[in-house]
C-alpha cells in the first residue's frame, strides 16, 4: 500500500464519505476518500439507537458496551481489500485447453494468464453444457466454503445454492467439522439434531451471572472461538464473571488464550484421554454420592447401565482416578479435587467454545467425549440454576419476536433446511430445489473423485433434519448417477482446512477431474489448482444485507453478541480491478445458460436487499430510505424482558418455553410440549437411538466408553516413529484460511506467523522438554512430518504446552510446496498443518473428521538439501 491519500494541511473526516458494512465479525463504519478506503472502524452505537440492556446479579450491574467489537483480522480489512494477493482479472491456467490438451497433471505447477470475463464465462458455461449433455448435472460437484463474505444475498447458502440448484449438481456435503463429537455423539444422549447436537444458550449469560459458582472449560477457548462471528464480543462477559467470583477451571493440553487471562486452574490430559478423565469424575460422584440422584431418577434413563460401566461391574475395570491418571497423565489427586469441587459448587460445563468446538470432539471417538460431557452435567442436574452446558459465548438477551433472517435461512435460494420462516414471507418469489439426489461427503471427496466407489454414513447437508439422517449409509456414485467430472469451488481454500490435504492436491492433479473452477477473492492455494479462476470482490465492494453473527438454521437464536444489529451493507468502493460479486458472476453465467430470469427474478443485489427488508420486520421501525441512509438498526431489548434460561423448563418439568423449531412432530409419538428429543423424552445414559441403529457397535457403544485412539499415545508402533501428539485447534488470529497467508497485518502477530529470513512461517508450539530433546530453541525452523506430509514451521517454546504434545493452529491459508505438490515428502513452507492430520473418521459409523488424533515428529530444518 504505497499510495497515500489525505495529504493536506488541515485534516477532517468530514471530507470523507462514510458507509456502514457488516463483516464476519461485526458491523463497521468505512471511511472513503477518492474511491479508496481510508479507515475501517467498529460501529459505535448512537444516541438514537436502542438503549443498552443491563443485568443485575449478586449486587452488581453489568451493561453491554457502547460499541460493537470486531476481530483483529476484520480490524485489518483495509489491507485485506488492497493486498497484492487479490485476484483482479479472470485467469486461465496456461496449459489448459478445453478443446485440446487439458494437462490436469500440471495443476498446481503451471502458471496462469489473465483472460477476459467473456472468455472465462464462455469456457465455464460451455463446459457446464457439455458435461450436462454427456453425463448429466450430477457430474458437476459444487461447494462453497464456510464463513465466506458476510451478507444474506451473496452468501453461499443464498446465491451459490440458487444458481446451482437451477443448473443441477452433486452437492458436496459439509460435515459439522467444528463440533463433530456433539453431532455424532451428544445427539444420542439429549437429542438436538436440529442443533446438530449442540445445546441452546437462551439467557444463560444471565443465569451464569446470577447463579454459577464455577465453570469448567473443557477443550474450550471461548476468547478464541467465540460464538463464531462474535469474536471479542464476549470477553467483557467473562471479566464480569471473574468479578462476580466465578471460578474458572480449564482442561486442555494447551493452556489456551482464555486460560492465560482467566484460569484459576489448568489440567492437561493427553489428547484422546479426556473420556478417561470424565469417567473418573463420574466414578467419584457415584462412589461418594455426590450427584443429583433425584434428577437422575426423574429426568434421565439408563443410568444403571452407565454406572455398571463406570464402576467396572461389567468389564472388571473400575474407572478410578488412579486408572484415569495412568491413561491421561492427570494427577489422580487433581481429579478427585476437581470432582468434589464440581459437585460441591453450582458448576456449568463449557465443553468447547459455543459447544464442542474444541479439539477433543474432533478426534478419534470424539463422540464419546461429547456424550460424556452431556452425562456429567446431567448427573449434576442440567437446567438447575447455575448448572448448565454453556460456553460463555451466547445467550445474551435479545428480542426474537423481531423478524430478520440469518444466512442459514437460505436467502435468495428459498431452500433452507432450517425453520423455513423466510419462504412463507414471499422471499424469493420462487424457491429453487435441486433434484439431483446424489451427494458426496466432503471428507471423502478426493477418494470419490479419484477412486470411486467410496462409502460413508450420513447424508444431506448438515444432517439436521432427524437423528436417523446420520445413520444413512451412502455409496458414491449413487445408483444411476455420474462420477465427478468437474469441480466448482466458491470461497476460500480447503487445502488448509480439510484433513490429510495432500489428498486434495492429488485429486486436483487427477485425470478424472476434467475441469475445475475456483471463484474466490484471493490468489490462494486452491485457486492455484484450478483451470479457470473467477475473481470475486470483497463485501466492501458490493451491496448486501445481513445481521451481525446471525446464523439461524441449526444455530437458532444463539446470540453471542451484545446487540442484534441489522445492517444494510453499503457498497463502499468499486470492485477492485475486474473483480465482481459472487451474485454478479452467477447472473452472468446464468445468462449464458438461458436461466438469467430464473436466477435473478429480475433483481440486482440492491433490489434483493430491499426485498429482504420488506419481508422482515424492519418496515415497522424504519422506512427503506431511512435504512439506506443510516445503514443499520439495533433491535431493542424490551424493558420487561423475561429471562427463560435454557433447560430450566426441563429441570422444572414444565412445558418448553424457548423458541425451537425442532424436534419435528414426526419425531414425537405424542406432542407433549416438553422433554428431550430422544426416544424416551429424557436424557439417556443408555442411548435408544444407537440401540435401534447398531446396538453392538464397539466404537460407539450404548453407554459411552473410553476407547483408546486409533492414532495416539497407545498406538505404540506408530508412536515409535512419530512420538509427538499434534493438536490443531481452531485458529485465534484468522478465520479458517480466509485471513492468513495474504500479506495481512495479522500475519505479524507472533502467534499466527513469525518471520525468519524474510519469510513468514506458521507457528508450532512445543514444551521446553520436547524442544531440548530435539536440540531446538525458540525461533528455529523445523520440519514436522509423518507418513502423510511434511511441513516447515517455526518453533515457539512455551510452558503453556504440555510435554509430549505439540500445537499448531489448523487451517492456515498458505501452501507453498518446495517440490512436487501432493508428495508427502515435499516440504511445504506455507504451513499447511492439515497435510499431517488423518482423514480417518471419528469411528466406523461416525463420518466426522478427527484431526485431534495425529502423531508427528519434529526435527530441526536446515533447509532443502
Amino acid at each position: 500500500m504505497e499510495q497515500t491519500v489525505n495529504a493536506g494541511t488541515r485534516y477532517s473526516t468530514s471530507d470523507e464519505q462514510r458507509f456502514v458494512n457488516c463483516t464476519l465479525s461485526g458491523p463497521v463504519e468505512v471511511y472513503v476518500k477518492a474511491g479508496r478506503i481510508v479507515r475501517i472502524v467498529p460501529l459505535t452505537y448512537g444516541q438514537d439507537d436502542a438503549a443498552a440492556w443491563t443485568m443485575e446479579a449478586r449486587g452488581q450491574t453489568f451493561t453491554r458496551p457502547t460499541k460493537a467489537s470486531v476481530s483483529c483480522w476484520v480490524q485489518g480489512s483495509k489491507q485485506y481489500v488492497y493486498t497484492k494477493q487479490r485476484l483482479l482479472t479472470p485467469l486461465k491456467r496456461v496449459d489448459f485447453d478445453p478443446d485440446g490438451k487439458r494437462n490436469p497433471q500440471n495443476r498446481g505447477i503451471s502458471g496462469y494468464e489473465p483472460i477476459s470475463w467473456d472468455d472465462a464465462l464462455g469456457i465455464v458455461s460451455k463446459e457446464i453444457i457439455r458435461l450436462k449433455r454427456e453425463h448429466g448435472p450430477s457430474s458437476i460437484a459444487v461447494t462453497g466454503s464456510s464463513h465466506d463474505s458476510w451478507g444474506n444475498i451473496g452468501y453461499r447458502m443464498s446465491a451459490l445454492d440458487r444458481f446451482w440448484n437451477l443448473v443441477g449438481c452433486t452437492w458436496i456435503d459439509h460435515n459439522p467439522e467444528s463440533w463433530e463429537g456433539f453431532f455424532w455423539g451428544a445427539i444420542h444422549q439429549w437429542g438436538f439434531y436440529w442443533r446438530l447436537g449442540q445445546p441452546p444458550a437462551y439467557d444463560l449469560l444471565h443465569d451464569t451471572f446470577q447463579n454459577t459458582d464455577m465453570i469448567v472449560f473443557w477443550s474450550s477457548d471461548p476468547t478464541t472461538t467465540s460464538g463464531d462471528y462474535a469474536w471479542n464480543e464476549t470477553d467483557t462477559w467473562r471479566f464480569h464473571m471473574k468479578k462476580l467470583g466465578i471460578k474458572f477451571v480449564f482442561i486442555d493440553p494447551y493452556c489456551n488464550f482464555t486460560a492465560v487471562i482467566g484460569a484459576d486452574k489448568w489440567l492437561s490430559p493427553k489428547p484422546g484421554t479426556d473420556t478417561a478423565l470424565a469417567l473418573a469424575i463420574a466414578f467419584i460422584w457415584m462412589t461418594e454420592h455426590r450427584y443429583d440422584q433425584d434428577y437422575v431418577r426423574t429426568h434421565t434413563e439408563g443410568f444403571d447401565k452407565w454406572k455398571a460401566y463406570v464402576l467396572g461391574e461389567d468389564d472388571g475395570v473400575p474407572k478410578t482416578p488412579q486408572w484415569a491418571e495412568q491413561i491421561s497423565g492427570v494427577d489422580a489427586r487433581d481429579i478427585i479435587a476437581l470432582a468434589r469441587e464440581w459437585a460441591g459448587k453450582r458448576t456449568t460445563l463449557a465443553a468447547g467454545g459455543r459447544s464442542g468446538m474444541g479439539h477433543a470432539g474432533r478426534a478419534a471417538y470424539g463422540h464419546e467425549w461429547a456424550r460424556m460431557m452431556v452425562l456429567l452435567v446431567a448427573m449434576q442436574g442440567l437446567g438447575k440454576p447455575g448448572v448448565n452446558m454453556y460456553s460463555t459465548t451466547g445467550g445474551a438477551p435479545a428480542d426474537w419476536s423481531f423478524y430478520f433472517p440469518g444466512y442459514a435461512d437460505g436467502g435468495i435460494s428459498g431452500g433452507s433446511s432450517g425453520p423455513r420462516e423466510l419462504g412463507p414471507r414471499g422471499f424469493p418469489d420462487k424457491a429453487v430445489h435441486g433434484t439431483v439426489r446424489q451427494r458426496v461427503n466432503r471428507s471423502v471427496f478426493p477418494e470419490a473423485v479419484m477412486n470411486p466407489p467410496v462409502s460413508w454414513t450420513g447424508v444431506y447437508g448438515f444432517y439436521g433434519q432427524s437423528t436417523e439422517q446420520q445413520f444413512m449409509k451412502c455409496t458414491f456414485p449413487f445408483e444411476g448417477y455420474s462420477p465427478i467430472k468437474m469441480l466448482f469451488r466458491q470461497g476460500s481454500s480447503y487445502i488448509g482446512t480439510m484433513m490429510n490435504t495432500n489428498r486434495w492436491v492429488n485429486m486436483y492433479r487427477h485425470p478424472n477431474l476434467e475441469f475445475t473452477v475456483n471463484q474466490t477473492i484471493f490468489n490462494e492455494p486452491e485457486a492455484r489448482f484450478s483451470d479457470i479462476v473467477f475473481p470475486v470482490c470483497t463485501n466492501f465492494e458490493r451491496v448486501d444485507i445481513g445481521e451481525w453473527a446471525r446464523i439461524s438454521g441449526y444455530s437458532r437464536h444463539l446470540n453471542p453478541v451484545n446487540a442484534r444489529v441489522i445492517v444494510l451493507q453499503q457498497k463502499c468502493i468499486e470492485p477492485l480491478g475486474e473483480s465482481k460479486s459472487d451474485y454478479k458472476i452467477f447472473s452472468l453465467l446464468a445468462e449464458r445458460l438461458g436461466i438469467k430470469q430464473q436466477f435473478t427474478e429480475g433483481r440486482d443485489e440492491l433490489q434483493w436487499a430491499h426485498r429482504m427488508y420488506e419481508v422482515s420486520d424492519l418496515p415497522k421501525v424504519m422506512t427503506w430510505e431511512e435504512f439506506q441512509k443510516k445503514g443499520y438498526y439495533v433491535v431493542p431489548v424490551p424493558k420487561d424482558y423475561k429471562y427463560k434460561p435454557a433447560f430450566r423448563a426441563y429441570y422444572e418439568g414444565r412445558a418448553k418455553e424457548n423458541d425451537e423449531w425442532g424436534p419435528s412432530l414426526q419425531d414425537q409419538p405424542v406432542n407433549e410440549g416438553k422433554g428431550m428429543a430422544t426416544p424416551s423424552g429424557k436424557i439417556e445414559f443408555e442411548s435408544q437411538s444407537l440401540k435401534r441403529f447398531d446396538p453392538n457397535d464397539p466404537e460407539r457403544p450404548l453407554v459411552p466408553h473410553y476407547i483408546p485412539s486409533w492414532e495416539g499415545h497407545t498406538t505404540t508402533e506408530l508412536l515409535g516413529k512419530y512420538p509427538l501428539q499434534l493438536i490443531t485447534p481452531h485458529p485465534r488470529f484468522t478465520f479458517h484460511s480466509q485471513f492468513d497467508g495474504k500479506d495481512l497485518w495479522n500475519d505479524e502477530i507472533p502467534h499466527q506467523r513469525r518471520t525468519k529470513d524474510g519469510y513468514r512461517y506458521w507457528v508450532i508450539r512445543l514444551h521446553p522438554k520436547d524442544a531440548e530433546e530435539r536440540g531446538l530453541k525458540d525461533g528455529d525452523l523445523v520440519k514436522v512430518f509423518n507418513d502423510r506430509g511434511t511441513v516447515i514451521l517455526i518453533v515457539t517454546v512455551t510452558l503453556r504446552m504440555m510435554a509430549g504434545v505439540v500445537h499448531s493452529y489448523s487451517s492456515g491459508g498458505g501452501y507453498d510446496p518446495m517440490g512436487e505438490p501432493g508428495n508427502p515428502k515435499t516440504p511445504d513452507k506455507g504451513g499447511t498443518i492439515n497435510q499431517l492430520t488423518s482423514s480417518r473418521f471419528n469411528s466406523k459409523h461416525a463420518s466426522g473428521m478427527g484431526p485431534g488424533s495425529c502423531l508427528v515428529e519434529v526435527q530441526k530444518w536446515e533447509g532443502a538439501h
Binding site: N6, S12, V38, R39, T44, C72, K78, I261, D334, L338
Partner: protein, 278 residues
C-alpha cells in the same frame, strides 16, 4: 487546556491485537499532515503488544500483555534530542515529531528509552504514536486503538479532567508509570503491571489429598499481614508483593502448622508442594 493521557488497565487485556492493527488501519497508506506521515505497512508498530508468560504454578500460567506505545512524556528525551524543534509538545500534552522538520534526524529513534520511535528508512523519518491527534483535532474522543479495544484495557482522556474515563480509572486503580527510572514523566499509566508473587500447593500427607481451606498468612518485617485460604486444589497465591523477605505461616486444624521465612524474588516465587503432617 487538556492534558491527554492514557490509562492502560492490563487486567482487561485479552491479547486480541486489535490496537496494533487499528493503528495500522489508521496510519498505513494515510498521511495526516502536519501531524504524521504514513506508517510502513509492515515491520513497524506505533502500537504493539508485548507478552510475558508467568508461571504461577505448573498448572496455572498467566500471560501478561502490555500495550507498548509512545508514553507522551512531559520530560521527553526525544524533544531534547531533536534539532530545529523537530519534536514538540502540543498544548494538550501530545508529543509530535514534525514530519517535515524531522527528516533525516535518525538520532530521534535512538533517543527514546521506551523504544517506541521507529526509523522509517523510505521516508528518512523518525515516527511514533501521535494519539491520533489528527482525529482529536477533528472532534474524535479517542485514538483508534482505544476505539477498537473490546474489553476496556485502553482508556483515554484528559488527565486533568476528573470526569474523563482515564482520570477516573487513574483515581480508582493504583496505576503507575512504566519504568519511572527513565524519569521521563509519562502521561501514560499502567494498572496491573506485574508484581512479585508467591504461590504454592498444600498437600495432606496422611490422606495424600490436596488440602483445602488451609489458612495461609504472609507477614512482612513491619508486621503487615495478608492472608488467604487454599482452594480445592490446595493452591494459594499472593499477588502484588514486594521483593523482600516475608514469613509464611500455614495452619490447618489437626495438622502441624508451618512457618517459614521466604525471600520473594522479582517475579513469581513458586514454592511447589508443601506437605502438612498430623
Amino acid at each position: 487546556m487538556a492534558r491527554y493521557g492514557m490509562v492502560v488497565n492490563l487486567d482487561r487485556c485479552v491479547g486480541c491485537y486489535n490496537c496494533q492493527i487499528a493503528c495500522k488501519d489508521e496510519h498505513v497508506g494515510n498521511d495526516f499532515l502536519p501531524v504524521a506521515k504514513s506508517q510502513p505497512a509492515f515491520g513497524q508498530f506505533w502500537m504493539a503488544i508485548q507478552e510475558v508468560e508467568r508461571v504461577v504454578s505448573p498448572s496455572h500460567i498467566r500471560v501478561n500483555y502490555t500495550p507498548v506505545f509512545c508514553q507522551q512524556c512531559r520530560d521527553a528525551p526525544c524533544i531534547s534530542a531533536a534539532k530545529d524543534g523537530a519534536v514538540y509538545r502540543r498544548g494538550d500534552g501530545i508529543v509530535i515529531i514534525d514530519p517535515v522538520k524531522a527528516v533525516g534526524q535518525k538520532q530521534l529513534a535512538a533517543s527514546c528509552p521506551y523504544g517506541v520511535i521507529f526509523w522509517n528508512e523510505e521516508q528518512q523519518l523518525a515516527q511514533k504514536c501521535t494519539f491520533c491527534a489528527h482525529l482529536l483535532d477533528d472532534g474524535w474522543k479517542e485514538p483508534r486503538c482505544v476505539q477498537t479495544c473490546p474489553a476496556g484495557c485502553l482508556n483515554f482522556g484528559d488527565l486533568d479532567d476528573p470526569a474523563s474515563p482515564a482520570a477516573k480509572l487513574l483515581e480508582e486503580t493504583r496505576a503507575e508509570t512504566w519504568h519511572p527510572e527513565f524519569k521521563a514523566k509519562p502521561n501514560v499509566y499502567y494498572a496491573g503491571l506485574p508484581k512479585p508473587m508467591l504461590s504454592g500447593r498444600v498437600l495432606l500427607a496422611d490422606k495424600n489429598e490436596w488440602a483445602e481451606n488451609v489458612s495461609v498468612t504472609l507477614t512482612d518485617k513491619a508486621g503487615l499481614k495478608r492472608d488467604c485460604i487454599t482452594d480445592a486444589f490446595g493452591d494459594f497465591a499472593f499477588d502484588g508483593l514486594e521483593q523482600k523477605t516475608y514469613t509464611l505461616k500455614l495452619e490447618a486444624p489437626g495438622y502441624a502448622g508451618q512457618s517459614n521465612e521466604i525471600a520473594v524474588n522479582p517475579d513469581i516465587s513458586y514454592l511447589g508442594n508443601i506437605v502438612l503432617r498430623r
